[in-house]
């Protein structure tokens, strides 16, 4: 492997690791937002159930 190849590989590693980190943070954020949305849905359904139960009486 020529010297320049080592140089390019080294800089490639820097970019790959940086973007891997950013991507990992972004992916975790996405998962979190999905869970929050699911939680919000859950809350809405429970609210509806409670409302139904109340009106039934």
């Amino acid at each position: 492997m020529s010297n320049l190849a080592y140089l390019l590989f080294a800089y490639a590693i820097f970019w790959v690791l940086t973007f891997a980190l950013v991507f990992s943070i972004w992916a975790r954020q996405r998962r979190l937002e999905r869970e929050i949305a699911a939680l919000a849905d859950c809350l809405r359904e429970e609210g509806r159930d409670v409302h139904l139960r109340r009106t039934e009486r």
């Binding site: 492997m1 010297n3 320049l4 080592y6 140089l7 590989f9 080294a10 800089y11 590693i13 820097f14 690791l17 940086t18 891997a20 980190l21 950013v22 943070i25 975790r28 954020q29 979190l32 937002e33 869970e35 929050i36 939680l39 859950c42 809350l43 429970e46 409670v50 009486r57």
Partner: protein, 245 residues
């Protein structure tokens, strides 16, 4: 919901500014590394790895320092934000130290014929890398959040104070028995190289700050979710425990 989790409704000005500055600085640093810095006499173009290699090593150490300070902050104040800072900085530090080790290996191979040398900077980076990993393993092995934060804080502090001592020990060890292959840095330093190195350091510091902030925001969102889940649980308990009218 005024939780930090919903960021869409608020413009994160500082975050954008930091990201922008990092981008500009990185671009400038790259430009200087490849266009402004001179071709090194003995090693040739491969030597250009040096700038980002040293910059990432610096951040690897600085991130550890931040973790130690955050540990002290947590032990003194007991507030979660210090713990968030500590664990975020460790994640950054681990990434940058990994960069140091890999780029160091890729620099060592063409110049000294071997992927690894027990050269002081590489060795201390390896030690720091192992401490970072140990820190993460410690956090992963404790379930209770308060105890996890406390133990991690203690470990972060104790571990960090050994790093300068390790550095001296490794240096003395290496100067007494220098590698026959290496025999010192062997680089002719010119002013242009110094300029490039400084710009690289600044760029990496800005990048660290940007990513650190991102990671901390993620962790705050995790906390927000946990709080929401707790609220939902308590609401659910209240509803199911209400006696039928």
């Amino acid at each position: 919901m005024r939780e930090d989790a919903v960021r869409g409704s608020r413009r994160d000005v500082l975050g954008v500014v930091l990201a922008g500055l990092s981008g500009v600085a990185m671009f400038a640093a790259l430009g200087m590394v490849f266009l402004y810095a001179p071709r090194e006499a003995t090693m040739g173009d491969v030597q250009r790895i040096f700038y980002f290699h040293v910059a990432s090593a610096w951040i690897g150490f600085f991130a550890f320092f931040v973790t130690c300070l955050a540990g002290i902050g947590y032990l003194v104040q007991g507030e979660r934000r210090w713990d968030v800072l500590a664990l975020s900085s460790v994640e950054m530090g681990l990434t940058f130290t990994t960069m140091t080790l890999l780029t160091g290996a890729l620099w060592a191979r063409p110049v000294w014929g071997t992927y690894w040398t027990w050269e002081p900077r590489l060795t201390i980076s390896l030690v720091q890398w192992l401490i970072y990993v140990a820190y993460r393993m410690l956090r992963a092995a404790i379930e209770a959040p308060e105890r996890r934060a406390r133990f991690a804080a203690v470990y972060g502090i104790v571990a960090f104070v050994t790093v300068p001592l390790s550095w001296f020990a490794i240096r003395w060890w290496r100067t007494i028995h220098p590698d026959i292959l290496m025999g010192g840095e062997g680089m002719a330093i010119t002013p242009r190289m110094v300029h490039t190195l400084v710009v690289s350091l600044v760029a990496f510091t800005l990048l660290y700050a940007t990513l650190l902030r991102l990671r901390m925001q993620l962790e705050c969102a995790v906390d927000a979710l946990a709080r929401l889940q707790a609220r939902v649980e308590s609401l659910r308990d209240q509803l199911t425990s209400r006696p039928p009218d």
